[in-house]
């Protein structure tokens, strides 16, 4: 175990694994058939959405039940922009900015109340969002929804549509992941972690919990907007149903199951969001919701760190016998889960924890 860990610590191993990852991401769209590519692209879309939720919830500890609203908003902005024949770059920027501004305004009010008020306010977003989208039918096409085709492969690329779309998702999603990773590992990430850990301590260190909560929520909304744009790239159609309450809850469950406060966990969460409903539908469509709830509760009981903590937990079990005392946290605030998260990965970064630990990870 220790030799494996020290191997992972070496810089060249990290660079090599990074290079392998990049090459893999570049090659994957060429390898599979259209259906697999479409599924992978959808996983990418929802991985970005889960990542956004992770910024506000996993890293900053503010429960948000409305993340899907920002995905829907970004998707609608994209659809509207495309229907008006705006430049696609402009559309992308608007699809990021408009949800971010909406998130900022909501957070400015919601973050004023401490504790769970953000959860209690954001639960309204999908529930208000659906009738609102139906009402503003000039922009949204009402209950019918809107479709927008702008992501067909250009002729010069020589790619099929599904390959082109997957490349777009990998490119935009990859940049989003990279930027978010840097954000949560730097100064802001440490501030988020302190706000999450103890607001009084944060205040005493000159970190305003209010400002950082608002910041985290705004960043999450912006990432939600990005995922909305990608949603339109891949699915090319959105309706009020996209941002339903059930989807919002599913997104939150995916984040917890993938691993709160973890970059890799966001990818796993995206995969969970897309794949597991397909599986449970095969078993019995009537049981889907029941199974999803049961899986979420089961994970909270036996694997509070999410799927991403699995390798570490397994190693620990083998190493120290049954020395695990799972703390009831989906995210690493307690010593216990922090240590789970710290050792669990090679090339993927662990979540930010007290400053000393984050600093030595800066150069990874």
């Amino acid at each position: 175990m220790s030799s494996a860990a020290s191997l992972v610590q070496k810089p060249w191993v990290r660079w090599a694994s990074l290079a392998v990852l990049v090459v893999l991401l570049l090659v994957i769209p060429l390898l599979f058939d259209a259906t697999t590519n479409a599924t992978l692209a959808r996983i990418g879309v929802f991985a970005v959405a889960v990542l956004g939720l992770n910024v506000v919830m996993g890293y900053t500890g503010q429960v948000s039940l409305g993340q899907i609203f920002f995905l829907g908003l970004g998707a609608y902005v994209t659809a509207y922009g495309v229907s008006q024949d705006w430049n696609i770059v402009l559309v992308f920027i608007l699809a990021c900015l408009i949800p971010a501004v909406a998130g900022l305004l909501i957070a400015l009010a919601a973050a004023r109340l401490g504790g769970l008020a953000i959860a209690m306010v954001t639960i309204a977003l999908p529930i208000v969002g659906v009738p609102l989208a139906k009402r503003l039918s000039e922009f949204t096409g009402g209950s019918q929804g809107v479709s927008a085709q702008f992501s067909d492969a250009p002729d010069w690329s020589g790619l099929a549509d599904d390959q082109w779309q997957l490349y777009l998702v990998i490119l935009i999603g990859g940049i989003t992941f990279l930027l978010t990773r840097n954000l949560v590992h730097g100064k802001y990430g440490r501030a988020f972690a302190i706000v999450k850990g103890n607001e009084a301590v944060a205040s005493s260190m000159g970190i305003s919990p209010y400002r950082y909560k608002v910041l985290a929520f705004t960043v999450a909304s912006l990432i939600g907007g990005v995922s909305g744009f990608l949603y339109m790239v891949v699915i090319q159609y959105t309706s009020p149903e996209t941002m339903s309450f059930a989807h919002s809850i599913q997104l939150l469950a995916s984040m917890v199951i993938g691993g709160a406060g973890s970059i890799l966990g966001s990818v796993l969460g995206g995969a969970y969001y897309v794949l597991v409903p397909q599986l449970t539908n095969i078993i019995d469509p009537n049981l889907t919701a029941l199974l999803q709830g049961a899986i979420l509760l089961l994970v909270l009981f036996v694997l509070p760190g999410g799927l991403v903590s699995l390798p570490r937990l397994w190693r620990r079990r083998r190493g120290k016998g049954s020395g695990t005392s799972p703390s009831p946290l989906p995210a690493p605030t307690s010593e216990d889960t922090v240590s789970i998260a710290l050792g669990s990965r090679g090339s993927t970064p662990p979540p930010p924890t007290p400053p000393t630990e984050s600093e030595e990870r800066q150069d990874t």
Binding site: P131, L132, A289, L291, Q292, L296, L329
Partner: protein, 293 residues
């Protein structure tokens, strides 16, 4: 004027349903510091249980009473076997647990009773009575009366009985309560059971007009949470007043503000919340929480 009075009464009636659910949320929050997002789901389950009893031939009132008893037991069991593990930990985790519970219960109802709408018989006759020239339904008045009765009973329980005193002691300081020999665990179970009973009443009161579906209370839960924020978590009276206010305002806005209409009236409490949060962050009636470091 007739329409106006009618709208106010209907608003009070829907507000009473939100109030019952909101009181359940406050009760759980006071006892355990959690927000139970599954409260609405548990209420739906209770309503389904009552419906099932009526299908088995029980008279409606007995079916409701039976559902209330089952709900109490279910609430207590949820506290003992599910929530207790998470009560001392991070409140965010506990919230996620209640959301998992909500998904589980909704899924269970959908699996057992399907997503089809079920007609739920009304406890009150469908007649209307004339009040100041407005036709007000007996159902509205009955719902308001039930809520007022609930409030009086709760007040009686918490102020007038030993059990209420013990429950309050646990809510204020569980450790001291345990030191003075109170069975804290069992009292928490009673608190959750009572909350489930309140939810059950809200469920059977709202089911006749909404028809029974697994997602029936999602909207009501949002309204109840809005009432909890507006009224302040520490003030049951404030929560009830806020719920009534929300019920009346959304009804009036639906009719008198053309843009809002009936489909967007759920936005009303949140516009209200935005205004209140900016002016008075602790809620209309709440106390400011001071945290000791």
């Amino acid at each position: 004027m007739g329409t106006f009075i009618q709208l106010v009464f209907d608003g009070l009636s829907t507000g009473s349903i939100y109030a019952a659910l909101a009181l359940a949320i406050v009760l759980v929050n006071q006892a355990t510091g959690l927000i139970n997002f599954a409260q609405g789901g548990m209420a739906v389950l209770s309503a389904y249980i009552a419906w099932q009893f009526t299908q088995w031939g029980l008279p409606l009132i007995l079916a409701i009473l039976a559902a209330v008893v089952v709900s109490f037991a279910f609430g207590a069991l949820v506290e003992r076997w599910l929530m207790r593990r998470f009560e001392r930990g991070d409140p965010d985790t506990a919230v996620v647990v209640t959301i998992g519970l909500l998904t589980l219960i909704t899924g269970f109802c959908a699996w057992l009773w399907s997503y089809n709408n079920r007609l739920f018989p009304s406890l009150f006759p469908l007649e209307t009575v004339d009040i100041f020239g407005a036709a007000v339904s007996v159902r509205s008045i009955g719902t308001i009366a039930v809520l007022i009765a609930i409030m009086l009973l709760l007040q009686l329980l918490f102020i007038g009985t030993k059990l209420g005193l013990a429950l309050r002691a646990v809510a204020i300081n569980p450790q001291s309560a345990a030191f003075s020999g109170l069975p804290v665990g069992r009292l928490l179970m009673v608190g959750w059971g009572l909350a489930a009973v309140l939810g059950a009443l809200a469920g059977v009161l709202v089911a006749p007009s909404l028809t029974l579906t697994p997602g029936m209370m999602d909207g009501a839960l949002v309204y109840a949470l809005a009432a909890v924020i507006l009224g302040g978590l520490s003030s049951p009276i404030g929560v009830v007043v806020a719920a009534w206010l929300i019920g009346i305002l959304e009804n009036l806005a639906a009719v008198y503000v053309p843009f809002i209409g009936h489909d967007l009236k759920i936005a009303v409490p949140f516009i209200l919340i935005f205004v209140v949060l900016i002016v008075r962050p602790q809620g209309l009636f709440g106390r400011k929480v001071v945290v000791r470091v």
